[in-house]
Assembly symmetry: C2
Homo-oligomer: 292 residues x 2
């Protein structure tokens, strides 16, 4: 199969979602894609062991995408060879009353992965410039000082949020968090097919919510907000990758390969050396055990 | 291979660790054990999806065992087919200053899995009647009202802790947490071999700590404390299973099979039904999407 050029998905200057690919298959069949993914995730699993032992960096994977874009199954498949010990997934839903009593980044901040761990945000702090921008009435519930009516949620308000998000990411990156941001880019037609499948397959019915159809009506507005958010927050230390998501197997493969290639650049991540003093006495310790 | 009789590992009345098996292989080779484990963990993975969707129970797996008993690799292997989204592993180490400002169960309480999730405690609240009992000097750092000197840590003190632990587990079980407690029962000789391997294999060296040898000297005292703890806290709603741990592959298999057999008893855990009102309108929703 074709080589995966991860830079072709990376947002460097800016992107137009309208023309960005939503389908990829690398001229390979499902079986080939699956086999390749298995190989990559084994390597990722090995890297994770070293990351954990090294204990100086953490990895944060941010996952965004429209309903049915495959976020949950991607998490299941990509992290299969990770030690569960070192992965922490947070699925962010509607903020709770407690969370709303804090600023919009607070609940994300306290969910950040500890050093040595991989954190996955399933939906992320970006929802604060996505769902809340599409539905300004939601933001009004957040009691932000100076925000008293929907009209206050003007361009300047959203620019401020982008700036705050950029500062947040800059700060955690400078303190040892390796950040990946993936947008699972789904076509509107593929979403229609996936929703119909939920409705048609009895055992998938329970996943359906009428709200999915309401949000679908706002598709274009969501795409606008995604595009704006991605273009204003893709940085070298916290890049966005726009992943064609109509083919789930290819999407998982690109995400896994992107993480692997990027993480391999951190040559200083390695298993710790034994303390010199302990090293000097290794033979003694061996003798103690051997003569028991 | 022989059928796995999970009840033979369950502590019903009481157990004597001295005579309990530390080795098991089911008359099967490694390859067979591995294959069987793969089958069980796929079934566990499927169960987990349903547990998550159902969202009314949580599962808490408590894992205890001496150094090198294989806790970490067991977690890696048993949960491989779980969706990382639904598993939360907490490795409890020496309590932090903040944790010591709370009662000894606090840090475990706040780490409990949410409904729908599987929580793994890698070392658990039982360390409060194990390492702290073997080393009473550690407990003294906890500033417990009325405890002023090592002599205060008498039998009555430990009985009180067992009672508190039992009450804690009774409470969370009654509120929907399915509890498993596994003791990885390692022989002293196998630990010696595993420590020697750490010392002899250069790439495993960094895992070695001289403290391991110090704790090993207290082996018999640890076994006593384990036995007492297990016998005083094995309850129907929170049973202990004593797992022969000298053969890692068999140990993982027994743990996985135990969870699977026990979880299958919860016949009420199933995917949720669609709300009646939504069900009544399913055809409408389909039409909306189909005529788009």
């Amino acid at each position: 199969m074709n080589k995966i050029d991860i830079d072709s998905y990376r947002v460097k200057e800016s992107i137009t979602l309208n023309t960005a690919a939503t389908f990829e298959n690398f001229d390979a069949d499902d079986a080939k894609l699956k086999k390749k993914l298995e190989k990559i995730r084994r390597e990722l699993g090995e890297f994770q062991d070293v990351l954990y032992a090294h204990g100086k960096y953490s990895v944060l994977m941010c996952l965004q995408g429209m309903d049915t874009s495959g976020k949950d199954s991607l998490i299941r498949e990509v992290f299969k060879d990770f030690n569960a010990r070192g992965v922490v997934v947070h699925s962010f839903k509607v903020p709770t009353a407690l969370e709303l009593k804090h600023d919009f980044l607070w609940r994300h901040y306290i969910a950040l992965p500890a050093k040595g761990k991989v954190g996955v945000f399933n939906r992320t702090h970006y929802e604060n410039v996505l769902v809340t921008r599409v539905h300004p009435e939601y933001v009004m519930g957040e009691h932000i000082p100076g925000i008293h009516k929907v009209a206050d949620l003007n361009d300047a308000f959203w620019e401020k949020r982008f700036e705050q998000i950029n500062n947040f990411e800059k700060h955690i990156a400078a303190n040892g968090t390796i950040i990946f941001k993936f947008f699972l880019h789904l076509s509107k037609e593929e979403q229609r097919q996936r929703l119909l499948r939920r409705l048609n397959l009895k055992r998938k019915n329970w996943k359906f919510s009428p709200g999915d159809l309401k949000e679908r009506k706002l598709w274009d507005r969501y795409q606008e907000c995604y595009e704006d958010a991605i273009n204003k927050t893709s940085k070298t230390h916290a890049p966005w990758f726009v992943i064609p998501a109509d083919n789930k197997k290819a999407a998982r493969l690109i995400v896994a390969e992107t993480m692997l290639q990027e993480l391999k650049k951190y040559k200083d991540i390695k298993e710790p050396e034994l303390d010199d003093k302990i090293k000097a006495n290794l033979e003694d310790y061996k003798n103690q055990l051997e003569k028991e």
